[in-house]
Amino acid sequence: MEMAYLIETVIKIVVILLIFSALAGIGTYFERKVLAFMQRRLGPMNVGPFGLLQVAADGVKLFTKEDIVPTNVVARVFKIAPVITAATAFMAAAAIPFLPSFTLFGYEVHPIVADVNIGILYILGIMGVGLYGPLLAGMASANKFSLLSAARGAAVFISYEVITGLSILAPIMMVGSLSLIDFNAYQAGGITSWILWSQPVAFVLFWIAAFAETGRTPFHLIANDHEIIDGFGTEYSGMRWGLFFIGEYANMFFISFVISIIFLGGYGDGSFLGALGLLGKVAFFFFFFLWTRAAWPDVRPDQLMWLCWKVLMPIAVLNILITAIVMM
């Protein structure tokens, strides 16, 4: 293996880690602001201009807080669970092309850590592993609310893995590749060639499943505050809890990237405008996560399972069948 390739990859990893850790923090700021505006409040206002430095204040608070490991927990598992959540979120980012390739100091940079030819499979798999964060945290916490949350987490993640996989199968059949770069190239012809127009049902299904995968509000059952306190996060404090948080928000950003690249044309032809377009789409999907949190109530766990197995899965299977028939 070449030295230059190795250095390039390490630099990319560090840049992605830094940018998305920071974005996770700024994401919390935007979430608080957007929710506040939608509820006729102002949100954070006092730390820095328009409360912008609230993120830094929260970060300092998280880092300097006492790290409590309660008495009856399984300490080793308890300690490693938040790392799993954060790590899997960032590992999934390895196969996502964040921007079109560009030239920097005469050196062509591909803003993707590893263009593996099974990119989507890899992302879905790693997101599936992400289940172990809430599951192990909840089971190790010696707290019945955490345990409930772990059970719910396992049920929700496994169920909606099915929807994610099946809904994305139809676009994969059309493109004939699992690499997100190939997906992008397939839709390079502009807005009319987006997979959204040929696979609207798959788009909606994947979008719904994305809410379950990231545990956002209509399906926010894993850490449903009014029922089970903070779920798997109840016993956590300080930076361990912060890692869960960073993982959740990084996941929201990454899933927004994935939806934008698979269904909405990604960065298009690779021009500067296309790159801006990708960021705009990602911003919209991230905003939509916050928007629904202000607007919609949570569903019950049994309704969530009902929706998954009795409604979404049949529709996804039908969608694959129809796609196959049309392609033949």
């Binding site: 957007v34 505006f37 939608m38 509820q39 006729r40 409040r41 102002l42 206002m45 928007w291 629904t292 202000a294 607007a295 919609w296 409604v311």
Partner: protein, 211 residues
């Protein structure tokens, strides 16, 4: 007649009766067969209620009609009869304390937080030598202000009375109107129940000298 009317409204809660104010909200019956349940799912899925919710919060965001009161900088107006920290008033004529040491406030105080000590001064007039209100115990019921015959003790509007010392909650001097405020003529009169109405002095009948 009046009692009958009340009786009618409070006891006639039978929804089936005519002229009743109570009625059933129109809830459809739950479907019993599978086809009915399926139709209900379709109806609920495509009725677009989710988008109504999205539109409502987006409208509020665009309208940007923020209701926040930025508390330490902004404060809500409070009514003249608001019962916060007590104020001890002075007489407008002589700047002397209005309190005549009658002890009614101490007597009526239900949380026993007022302590008053009096003595006779050199000219055999009653003088208040010690007056304290333990604000840590006070429940701000307002009885002391209501019972005071001289409007000497009233409630003010100062509600920011956090402190780290219990002794700060008993300071008589803090409640008494300062002398420089009296000289500037800015002592605020209590406007609530029992206070003197405007132009009261025009209606005062002077005691005839013949007595």
């Amino acid at each position: 007649m009046h009692i009958e009317h009340i009786d009618e409204h409070f006891n006639n809660r039978n929804v089936t009766e005519m002229n009743s104010d109570y009625y059933l909200v129109g809830i459809e019956d739950y479907p019993t067969d599978n086809w009915g349940r399926f139709k209900r799912v379709i109806k609920r899925s495509f009725r677009g209620e989710l988008f109504v919710g999205l539109w409502v919060v987006m409208r509020e965001m665009i309208r940007f009609d923020i209701h926040t009161v930025k508390y330490p900088e902004e404060k809500m107006p409070i009514g003249p009869r608001y019962r916060a920290i007590h104020q001890m008033k002075r007489l407008w004529e002589s700047d002397a304390e209005r309190c005549i040491g009658c002890g009614l406030c101490e007597k009526i105080c239900i949380s026993n937080c007022i302590r008053i000590e009096t003595k006779l001064d050199a000219s055999s007039r009653k003088e208040v030598s010690e007056y304290s209100i333990n604000l840590g115990r006070c429940i701000f019921c307002g009885y002391c202000a209501e019972v005071c015959p001289e409007l000497a003790i009233t409630h003010g509007g100062e509600y920011e009375n956090a402190s780290d010392q219990r002794e700060h909650f008993t300071m008589y001097q803090d409640m008494l109107t300062p002398l420089d405020m009296m000289r500037a003529g800015t002592q605020l009169e209590f406007e609530g129940f029992g206070s003197i109405t405007p132009h009261e002095d025009e209606r005062v009948k002077k005691t005839p000298l013949a007595y």
